[in-house]
């Protein structure tokens, strides 16, 4: 492309003053950039091997069994656990030896814990503090709830009646569910008044979007948001969906709810 432009300029065979030459040079560069961008836009697509292989999944499952058997997740995870985490723990000076010793130590501890758990199940007489340590559970790292951001306030929604009208749900049902939520999930000092007449008049703001922090890939303790102006609906952005859209299988807007609340609400 650049050669072509240079050749065109060479054919002009005209002597031009330096100022004009600079302007011509700038124009050439701009034209070159435009052509390059056009080329990128015209040739960019998802038509590469990795995407094509997805179309064979269906047949492969019937021929060879389930896909997870061939998953590379284990290898990827090993790279994170064995190298990345230990690198962070090292002092970054002669890190290779520290990575090796740290991983071996972690591995030995895990094996030890597995052995102790097996002995505990088999009914061996273990010291009390050891049993307490084994029974201690560690929660999965999740961003705290207050990091969630509600956005997109809808107008003309002032109370439960308006809210019910907007969502096509009867205000009685909303009040009933609010009372149920209050009883099952809130501490006594924060509970709502269990009077439907008062609850119907409670000020309500109906929101359209919830931003949820997502743990960054292969990073522990680092969370990222994706803004609401994202090009595609990202996993960190959740919006409510109407009945018709849901029935037409627009299945993206389904949320996953943690069991702590589910068990109390569902019972």
């Amino acid at each position: 492309m650049r050669k072509e432009l240079r050749r065109q300029r060479g054919q002009m065979r005209e002597r031009v003053p330096p100022s004009q030459r600079r302007r011509i040079h700038d124009d050439d560069r701009e034209q070159e950039n435009d052509q390059r961008m056009e080329l990128i836009h015209s040739e960019s697509n998802f038509n590469f091997v990795k995407m094509h292989l997805i179309s064979h999944f269906h047949d492969h499952i019937y021929m060879f069994g389930n896909i997870p058997m061939y998953s590379t997740d284990n290898g990827e995870l090993a790279h994170k656990e064995q190298i990345k985490d230990e690198w962070r723990r090292s002092n970054k000076i002669h890190a290779a030896r520290q990575i090796l010793s740290s991983y071996c130590r972690q591995h030995a501890i895990r094996m030890r814990i597995l052995n102790l758990e097996f002995l505990q199940r088999a009914g061996a007489d273990l010291p009390t503090e050891l049993v307490e340590h084994l029974e201690k559970t560690r929660p999965a790292p999740t961003p705290p709830a207050h990091w969630r951001i509600l956005k997109g306030r809808r107008d003309n929604i002032y109370d439960v009646v308006d809210f019910g009208r907007a969502c096509d749900i009867s205000p009685e049902m909303i009040c009933r569910e609010l009372i149920r939520y209050s009883r099952l999930s809130l501490p006594p000092e924060r509970r709502l008044l269990e009077n439907p007449a008062i609850l119907r008049a409670v000020p309500v703001e109906l929101m359209t979007q919830l931003e949820i922090p997502v743990l960054a890939f292969q990073e522990s303790g680092v969370s990222t948001y994706t803004g609401p102006d994202a090009r595609v609906l990202d996993s960190s952005v959740t919006r409510p969906v109407g009945t018709i859209a849901f029935e037409y299988r627009l299945v993206r807007r389904i949320c996953m709810v943690r069991s702590g609340v589910v068990s109390r609400q569902g019972s």
Partner: protein
């Protein structure tokens, strides 16, 4: 709980809302979500053929359940099997799915 989903359950999100504290005993704001829970097929056991968990929307289910927005973990990608049954896709993350389709 919930088999292979390990304590998480897909639900249809109906509404996101805040209740202001004006008429409450304490001056607080409750950030809540109205959802409709799905139920697990086969106690959340992945099917041998595809290794995915199946969920369904029951005919008789509570129309609305209110939960705190902190209980919502994120979006889940469901693959429609029938009109009221879906497979919970755990083989591709939602971000990649959105980029492809």
């Amino acid at each position: 709980m919930y088999g292979a989903l390990r304590g998480r359950l897909p639900a249809r999100l109906i509404a996101l809302f805040k209740i202001r504290s004006g008429y409450m005993q304490h001056d607080t704001v409750y950030r809540l979500a109205g959802v409709q829970f799905m139920s697990l097929v086969d106690s959340g056991r992945p099917l041998d053929v595809h290794g995915l968990v199946t969920v369904q929307l029951r005919d008789v289910t509570r129309e609305l359940t209110i939960v705190d927005i902190g209980a919502i973990i994120g979006l889940v990608h469901l693959i429609p099997e029938t009109e009221r049954r879906w497979l919970v896709n755990s083989r591709i993350d939602l971000r990649t799915f959105n980029e492809i389709y």
